[in-house]
């Protein structure tokens, strides 16, 4: 049986993903667990593993295309199986109208029969599509509604660009958004809807887009002076009063479109501040012994084994979280969800933004393991090669700007987690010990916690615990 590969949900807030690269090509044998594609989400590029074995029969989504979670992106066939005449189309296409079929012949064209036959199916069938012929001219005339009073020269403004032969909007047959009336007019006129660009909500192809294309076809066919265009639903954007109807605003000087990472950060941080009531506790930690301990360990360690200050903090937090599970929980209306695993996200600054992947299962890991894994994690985060679990399974976050000399950092909780620890730099300070002013290596930490989950006194006990581990670093070695 053919198996549909769908866009996976990697992370709770992922709604769509982009196929960056197909690792397996049509005809390739795919073993369960093998990487078949690289998927880009808001946050990272992750590798998509096959859940079933089979032969890659069809890539429904092309490289660079973005589709919603759950949409079919490829079809695998069983090993040795003859491909059926019709590959199951994406579920959304099941209710196609006849009109759609007539302009989208690939839905009915035979697929390559044997394994190993490669070739772009969509291209193959596109060649069989009836080209818009000149004899349809008369029909175009009929379709043009009387343009009383609202004439507009064709070939001006957005309409011209809509008519230009653009790259196929939906290579390989992803559902094209088109209104029923636009579909009917396009079908009657023999216009391929894949070649149209929609100007409506969510890029929907509207009547005006089809009519603009029709006008342009006619112009090409006759070479005659520009005839009056069909009545547009509304005037071309630049002639109209600026309104919300303009599908995509051009970016003006001084503005920058948001990257997907920027959008994700904006969305999540806003969600956090709007839904999670934060409380904040700060504390000074005497890191003198911890720094000495680290120096001792690193003295004999190889480069990979070297322990950073942050690794010490991760280990201290892991130990403290075991004793204070409320800070490793998340809030739901019907109760708190406590996580078994302690997965500590570490904030990593990237050129385009910020990402917080998790060191998984910190609870059972030694300081040495944590040190090795965090180094590797940072490298993979910077090259965009994280595993899905690493950036979706975090249960607590540490954000550390100590390396920049920042004294104190108060973080915003990374939803749906219950707390975040902000860490400042370690620096020598004059402090009083036994009535004497002495120089000690001090570090400020700040806990931001969700007040729906825990209260201040609980938070205080939690950071006191962290402090205790860091001030008695031998406990971190266990």
């Amino acid at each position: 049986m053919a198996v549909e590969v769908t866009m996976p949900q990697m992370g709770a807030d992922m709604t769509e993903g982009t196929v960056v690269r197909w690792v397996k090509q049509v005809g390739d044998l795919v073993n369960r667990g093998e990487i078949i594609a690289e998927i880009e989400t808001d946050k990272a590029t992750v590798e998509l593993e096959a859940f079933e074995s089979g032969i890659m029969r069809k890539q429904i989504v092309g490289e660079g295309e973005t589709v919603p979670v759950g949409e079919v992106i490829a079809v695998l066939g069983a090993d040795g199986e003859e491909m059926p005449e019709q590959v199951p189309a994406p579920r959304k296409q099941a209710a196609e109208t006849p009109a759609r079929r007539s302009v989208e012949p690939q839905a009915e064209s035979p697929q390559p029969a044997a394994a190993g036959v490669t070739g772009d199916v969509a291209q193959d069938s596109a060649a069989k599509a009836p080209p818009p012929a000149v004899e349809e001219e008369a029909e175009h005339e009929e379709l043009t509604p009387p343009a009383a009073g609202e004439k507009e020269p064709a070939g001006t403004g957005g309409k011209a660009s809509a008519a230009a032969p653009a790259a196929p909007a939906a290579e390989g047959g992803a559902r094209t958004r088109i209104s029923p009336v636009a579909r009917r007019i396009a079908s009657d006129a023999g216009i391929e809807i894949e070649r149209l660009q929609g100007s409506g909500p969510d890029g929907r192809i509207l009547r005006r887009d089809v009519e603009a294309a029709l006008a342009s076809h006619r112009q090409e066919a006759t070479g005659a002076p520009t005839p009056p265009a069909p009545v547009p639903a509304r005037p071309a954007p630049q002639e109209a009063i600026p309104s919300r109807a303009v599908a995509q605003r051009p970016v003006v000087a001084g503005q920058q479109t948001l990257s997907r990472m920027r959008q994700a950060i904006a969305r999540r941080m806003t969600q956090s501040k709007q839904t999670q009531p934060h409380y904040y506790l700060t504390l000074d930690i005497d890191m003198t012994d911890a720094m000495a301990f680290r120096k001792q360990i690193n003295g004999s360690a190889s480069e990979e084994q070297r322990v950073s200050v942050n690794d010490l903090i991760v280990k201290a937090c892991a130990l403290a979280l075991e004793r204070h599970p409320k800070f490793n929980a998340e809030f739901h209306e019907n109760g708190l969800v406590y996580h078994d695993a302690i997965n500590i996200d570490i904030g990593i600054a990237l050129e385009e933004g910020l990402i917080a992947p998790a060191i998984l299962h910190c609870g059972g890991k030694t300081l040495g393991q944590i040190a090795r894994e965090s180094k590797e994690l940072v490298e993979r985060a910077k090259s965009g090669h994280l595993h899905a679990e690493e950036y979706s399974a975090g249960t607590f976050t540490i954000t550390n700007l100590g390396a920049y000399g920042v004294e104190a950092l108060i973080g915003i909780i990374n939803p749906p987690q219950a707390a975040i620890l902000g860490v400042g730099t370690v620096m020598p300070q004059a402090v009083v010990r036994d009535g004497e002013v002495v120089a000690r290596e001090m570090m400020k930490i700040a806990l931001s916690a969700d007040h729906r989950v825990s209260d201040g006194a609980e938070g205080a006990r939690f950071i006191k615990e962290i402090q205790g581990f860091l001030e008695n670093p031998v406990s971190l070695a266990l």
Binding site: P180, V181, G200, P201, R234, A240, A245
Partner: protein, 325 residues
């Protein structure tokens, strides 16, 4: 033609029908000596006497039952239910008796009763006194549901209601009683049921309303024209049963877009029925999903600002139109 308020147009319709047909009589709470809660029957008891303009106890089920009995017996009763909210108390008579006698008797009996009710919110009367139930009554086969939006239609449709052989639910939006319009003097001025009126022609979108919501539709059309250079066609359904779907479909075929405006709740409301019919009859002409601008899905709040927020506004209509472009 004379300019008059909707309440006076309704008054004139009742008076003319009483003069025309002696079988016509009126029943209701406070309609006689007091002249009606909305002053529609003012002066009629003096003119026609307490036999033909009868004050009743506060007992909607009883008034409606008596009216239905009188209709079965050959009279032409008009029962006024003070507001549509109180019709809940008498609804068994309307649904189980008035709407069904003709069917259940195989056409041997019919119930030519006119039931008038004031409807709608917007006057801070709270959750239990602000219903818009036009759609609910339109749900039942056997009832005609009439809901005028202006004085002339109110008169022509009410006069027409008295000539119907079957029960007519005649719904008057309380906020419209004082609105003025030109009304024909002709005592035979009738408006057929099932004929929507196109109040304004347009090319870009069809905005459909009934009763009070027609006015939001008209104001929205004006805003669309002034602010967005869009041309809206405005349709007043006038009667929900029978429904003039043909006029709506013809308009949608021209504009390719439809927005339905209703005071009623959205979920399972009349707009849902109309939207489905447009989709069934004009799918291949639609350039966008049919939009509904409805009352918010909550019992009507008492607070003035919240009540405004709960009712559809012309800005909501404009927003719905812009979202389809």
């Amino acid at each position: 033609m004379a300019e008059m308020r909707m309440r006076d147009a309704l008054h004139d319709a009742l008076r003319e029908e009483m003069l025309r047909d002696e079988r016509v009589f009126l029943m209701g709470e406070d309609i006689g000596g007091y002249g009606g809660s909305y002053a529609v029957t003012r002066g009629l008891q003096t003119e026609f006497g307490p036999e033909r303009v009868r004050d009743t106890p506060i007992a909607e089920s009883g008034i409606l039952g008596a009216g239905i009995g009188a209709a079965l017996g050959g009279l032409r009763p008009m029962v006024e239910i003070m507001t549509i909210n109180f019709s809940f108390v008498g609804i068994d008579q309307i649904i189980n008796n008035a709407s069904k006698f003709s069917y259940m008797s195989g056409g041997q009996f019919n119930v030519p009763i006119v039931i008038r009710m004031a409807s709608g919110g917007g006057s801070q009367l709270g959750a239990t006194h602000s219903h818009s139930l036009e759609g609910m009554y339109a749900h039942f086969p056997g009832l005609k549901v009439v809901c005028p939006s202006n004085a002339a239609d109110a008169k022509g449709l009410l006069k027409r209601a008295f000539r119907d052989e079957n029960p007519v639910i005649f719904i008057e939006h309380a906020a419209l009683y004082g609105t003025k319009g030109e009304v024909p003097d002709d005592p035979d001025f009738l408006i057929e049921f099932g004929k929507a009126s196109v109040l304004q022609e347009g090319t870009d979108v069809t905005v459909i309303g009934y009763s009070g919501s027609v006015h939001q539709a008209i104001r929205a059309a004006k805003l669309l024209e002034e602010q967005e250079e869009l041309s809206a066609e405005v349709i007043d359904l006038r009667t929900l049963r029978p429904l003039d779907i043909e006029t709506v479909v013809q308009s949608v075929k021209k504009t390719n877009r439809a927005v339905i405006v209703e005071d009623d709740w959205r979920f399972g409301g009349f707009g849902a029925e109309l939207s489905a019919q447009i989709m069934e009859r004009a799918f291949d002409w639609l350039d966008a999903p049919v939009a509904r601008v409805s009352g918010k899905d909550v019992p009507m709040p008492y607070n003035r600002n919240l009540e405004f927020a709960a009712l559809p506004s012309e800005e909501d209509v404009v927003e719905a139109v812009l979202a389809m472009l």
